[in-house]
Symmetry: C2
Subunit: 312 residues, 2 copies
Amino acid sequence: MAKHKIAIIGLGKITQDQHLPVIDKGADFEVAAVVSQRGLSHNGVPSFKTAAELYAAMPEIGIVSVNTPPDVRHAIAREALAAGKHVLLEKPPAATMAEFEDLKAFAKAQGKVLFATWHSQFNPAVDEAKALLATHGVGSVKIEWREDVKKWHPGQDWVFEPGGFGVFDPGINALSIFVKILPFAPFVKSATLTYPENRQTPIAAKLVFGSAVASQPALTADFDWREQGDEKWHMTIETANGRKLRLYKGGAALDVDGKLAVEAPSEEYERIYARFADLLASGQSDVDGAPLRLVADAMLVGRREETEAFVW
Amino acid sequence: MAKHKIAIIGLGKITQDQHLPVIDKGADFEVAAVVSQRGLSHNGVPSFKTAAELYAAMPEIGIVSVNTPPDVRHAIAREALAAGKHVLLEKPPAATMAEFEDLKAFAKAQGKVLFATWHSQFNPAVDEAKALLATHGVGSVKIEWREDVKKWHPGQDWVFEPGGFGVFDPGINALSIFVKILPFAPFVKSATLTYPENRQTPIAAKLVFGSAVASQPALTADFDWREQGDEKWHMTIETANGRKLRLYKGGAALDVDGKLAVEAPSEEYERIYARFADLLASGQSDVDGAPLRLVADAMLVGRREETEAFVW
């Protein structure tokens, strides 16, 4: 089968590190053009300053991958859907829930495939944790997602500006795993949000979740950007019948009762594009708003406290 | 036709002021029981301390109206749906968006009617504004929703606690009108949230909205709980072709080009229960999450600033 021609919009770090190399070595897609405000290019394919120029010049490209910053993602995705393109979105899929709901409704109205990706969900260890919780029930989940913001976002002041998500930028990865592995919907019952006195988004957050499950499993999350040294991207899970799971390395590895059960090399983006090919074949969308919704809910009900000023 | 037997859960101020007298004088429903933790009763009908006791004692009641504070609304509504009841919810329909989505999904799974009410939507002047905007297009909407918190919530510290909504408690009424009258979906693009230095929810908020409309109409909201004297619940609207609308008195009155076009006595709850009877007859739910979503979005992307401490 011929490869799908795809255009990549936004040539930032995640595109360079993941989307372009993964597509180039894969069997399903072919990068046929790029859109870069800064005029970057890739392998000599046509590069456009705006998506409108791309759509006018190369109408034969029916699929786009939108990897711009989240504040402009809705406008670009809507323009693409209006032009009749199928659309893949980097995470988070929009700046707000209302924008995301609009994209879902508009994709449906246009009859186009919309795929809101959450890369951390695409790990075999995550699939295995989900299967085990479906079989054995949920006793408790304790999320710890701690990293050094100076390592992962050096000098990027926008992460601390309104809409920049703060520690929920990595935390939403944990939440995307959390909602995937649980056999029920979690709700934010309370949250403590810690803001540096000179910043507009939280540098740390502790969340307590509830659910409609009668046994009320204990569900908590501890997100912190002040971790020194290596990142700690862990979930400590107990099943309802006492099995102990540890999902770690950001979802890439799973221990069961102290023994390594699954560890696979990180191929999150390979799996994302394989899934996108399946969605295009079946004409279905995959639009999971739950991780973004939990972040908005935490901001809605959270207690705010201040901590010392943050400087790079 | 016989009246629907309905039970009222929660006998606080809004139930006493609106639900009970409106149902008692109406033709569609009959208050057959009440649930009151404090043991309050109404017209001698059976009063229960918990909903579980009601469901066990009077299984013939198939409909409940849930008017408790929002933090327990989800649990009570879910219990009612699980017991096979149709459910009406006061606003806001849940404490968080995730809880609301869960109720929507569960009502559907149970095959029961769920009605998330927004009382300010139920005004003839609102219907007329909606019709005019559908015909003439939207040029701009400027919302001013200002009132004295000391008049409307005297001594109620919970409105300033996490999850208490702050000035969004009245503001969500304005947003419920806003999403009803607009012929497109608005998104929060930016917000300024003003917190008293000793409180956990905003006492004032200014919002700027965007949309997917090419002409980008100017859409703003100004919510403030520090208004002195009479409340100002106004929207100043210009249609795309220059007609000037003024929707005021909380949505009860509409001027068009300086002349009174619609003013009706407030019968919001009469219309809510008439609508509920229609939904029960057709077996359909009415679950509009847009007002709550806009509040969560404003909290997600808002810029926080502090102001002087608030004391009653």
